[in-house]
């Protein structure tokens, strides 16, 4: 544990990952960040690398499986997960990742605005912390990884 691996799960349409990564780099924290593929179009087309599907359901299924090779492995090998809920989309994949972490016993921090704390209460119940601005995550990481 001279270097902590942090998995950044959830929302891919804002720059929260960059904020955390830059904040950590500015403080020279002993952390490495991992993420799902955050290019939305590439992610949706991941399965097209293999024989393409005409049916939308199976195209999604195939792409999600290919993405799963990456995300499952990265979640299982991380020390801490940060799970971001934004203000768009259903974001069931983020809640799914939280449940996955909870079952593995991997500590996770939720990151989101105050207006959605209610529907996230079961997700909070297994979380180690709730952060609002990404800068709080950086502060937590600084504290947690201090020598």
């Amino acid at each position: 544990m001279n270097n902590w691996t942090i998995y950044l799960s959830g929302e891919i349409h804002s720059d929260w990952r960059e904020q955390i990564e830059q904040g950590a780099e500015a403080l020279d924290l002993p952390v490495s960040f991992k993420s799902p593929v955050t290019d939305h179009a590439a992610s949706d087309a991941a399965g097209d690398i293999l024989q393409p599907e005409s049916d939308g359901f199976w195209r999604d299924h195939k792409s999600s499986k290919v993405n799963g090779i990456r995300t499952k492995t990265l979640i299982e090998s991380c020390d801490i997960a940060v799970i971001r809920f934004g203000d768009q989309y259903k974001q069931w994949n983020a809640a799914f990742d939280a449940g996955y972490c909870a079952a593995l016993g991997t500590p996770y921090i939720t990151l989101h605005a105050e207006d959605i704390i209610r529907p996230l209460k079961e997700v909070h119940a297994s979380a180690m912390a709730w952060a609002q601005p990404p800068a709080q995550v950086v502060e937590i990481l600084k504290y947690v990884t201090s020598v």
Copy 2:
């Protein structure tokens, strides 16, 4: 495995649980059903049994923890989970349960209408089946538990 335990996770505002339970009973299937507390008000107030909280966040937190004693235990001891996504609310707890099952290796079936298959694609990727009307779940259980 002379009797299969089925955990019914998710939506608590429609009668899908009753439909499945009655369908299984009509066929005399060797299954037992378990669920979270589905009385919404009681569930929200679970923590009030202990010293009540004035702060909304912590009241929710406390109630979710008390509910977690039940749900975590029931999920971990079930053979199959059925996870229902309805057309209201955020339903992050349902996706959380799916992630929990996935990490445990517990097979789960998603149950929902066709219009939300896209945002559920990561949840589907680890599921064993997607059912639409509750009657399909009954048919799957009949097939899976046949002698």
Copy 3:
């Protein structure tokens, strides 16, 4: 362990399961038998219970997933597996089940004729015994479960 659960995996086109079950019953052995669905047509159509698929690959995939709800659960809960290799078909599912048992540490017995011992050598290497006629399996079960 007053009653041992035996999972019978593999070939579905001969009467080896019946032979073992009748042999065990004749001796009143303290065993219960479990199997995959052995009706070939029903097994192939398991996924049709849900929205039917036109594409053959996905129909098979869907049916295999539904069958997996049953087989995975039964394999994980058995005490001993018997894995039968016959003289027809590829039977990769039988070898798959053997590998699954090996990883779980579940003892398994292979059951097959002498002419295929060579290609089964890696499967044997993790097995606890190799039986030829089903009657030998009954004898092994009699010995193993004796009081």
Copy 4:
């Protein structure tokens, strides 16, 4: 996970491993490849290092056990497995490895021609992807391991 370990299981009579390794090297992917001993004669004679056996069954058994020291360890420590089914032999060892991975929760990709998708349907059901030409595996690895 700055370097992913990929285990290449199955067929040893074609150059699919070289194709994947060269493709990955050409792209400078952050991956390391591991394999069973692919020299067929050496693999069959692995047990002869110890006291040689006259009986064919036990010679095979002994060699398979020695090979198992290697393969079991490499499978258990890999991040992703690629499992190749060719057009010769029974290849039960490949299906066995797939079952082993499935039980461990290790993601695996099957690699084979279209004409055997039917008998592999149970193996597919737990796989994360099916690739046909080895170049597709390289593409998947490129996608999955991208920064």
Copy 5:
């Protein structure tokens, strides 16, 4: 989970166990209670069943090991633990049991007066609830085990 097993850990010098057991019985809750041996003298002398020790340290060690056969087994097989901290003694065994439960993922409820919440904060951080009078535990069990 038609019957929940509750392990009652900690203080043995007050009647909190009886209060909980009688409360549960009065409500006919589907629960079974397990406890360490609560006869203090018998517990201290557990090791004397074997060859007695003259050295106090080793007598304690031997007795604690014998008690551990019981407590470890009961903790590992319970569904919920209630961990009681009273106003006497060091009670490190109670905190030890809490840590054991936390590592196993077994949900536990702490039971104690308000004046010791501060030194129990790390124990609370992994708990599912904090109860004060034993009657609250009964209420929680009633809620959690309701059909």
Copy 6:
């Protein structure tokens, strides 16, 4: 845990099992006893049920594997093991069982005379108790399983 399962491992040439079983029965203890096959000749010949072997090493190997189906399953499902070392033979199987229990975290009690405590010191280091006459084991079981 209304009934404890006790596995009796080791020496098969004296009546220590009967002494413990009769002692437990006399006290009506809530315990069930399990053992390996204790008929020495039958145990050595366990593998002869299958195709007999001419080579002594492989006959032993085959019989030990068949016995292993039983012993491994019973050890893994017991609550407590009692491991008996007598004054004859090498008894490496007894020490093997102790190591197996230690790795699983299953509590075990060693049972043997005082003159061999020295060579058993590593086995003791992971044991929960050392008993000399079988009657002490009965006393321990009485204490441990008391209500």
Copy 7:
């Protein structure tokens, strides 16, 4: 295991950690030390990094959760834990850590004066050693990690 990771749990008001670390450094032992945050005020305020709490119970809870991200991860990744009990405070967190280690099977050494061996007897029962002056811990580490 060319470098052993040692987690130093417990008392934060004396210089026992420095004594052990300096002793190990003087002997050039192949060990790395990890600890909780030992600045008492900073530890109590860990949760204030996030939205501050007015209620004392929840402030403690929040801080303990943040500290738990660190301590849980470090305990789970250490090879050996040293758990120090001093002469002040309740120190339930130290006993909690011991229970956590016991459940994980992580070897731990207790470090404390002779006058508290009695209340620590259950904690000792799962420990690998009891040391009094910190210098003994250094000697144990020297012995255990020798080449």
Copy 8:
């Protein structure tokens, strides 16, 4: 797995460890060797580092526990164990280590002369190979770790 860790368990009164280590070094094999403390007197006195014991049983117990900190950790982190049985002493610790490896699923090789294969038959039944001269172990390691 670019470097394999090999644990050398058992007999400490002959030079088999040196033979294997020198053989591996001569071939430049990608292996690291780990062992228990092989200085017999130092091993027996390991517990004397702490408060010395007058009672022989507890001195042994204490020393075995201290040795266990090392051996348990090294066994749990090795890739392959070699377990040597010589012609002196009871060697129950070696059989204990074999049982420990078997339960963990760690592959092990037994190393011993032909005259003790009979009493080792249960230990063989879970082993991956039986070697006689240490040079055979080197050959196995060469084969198993080849690129």
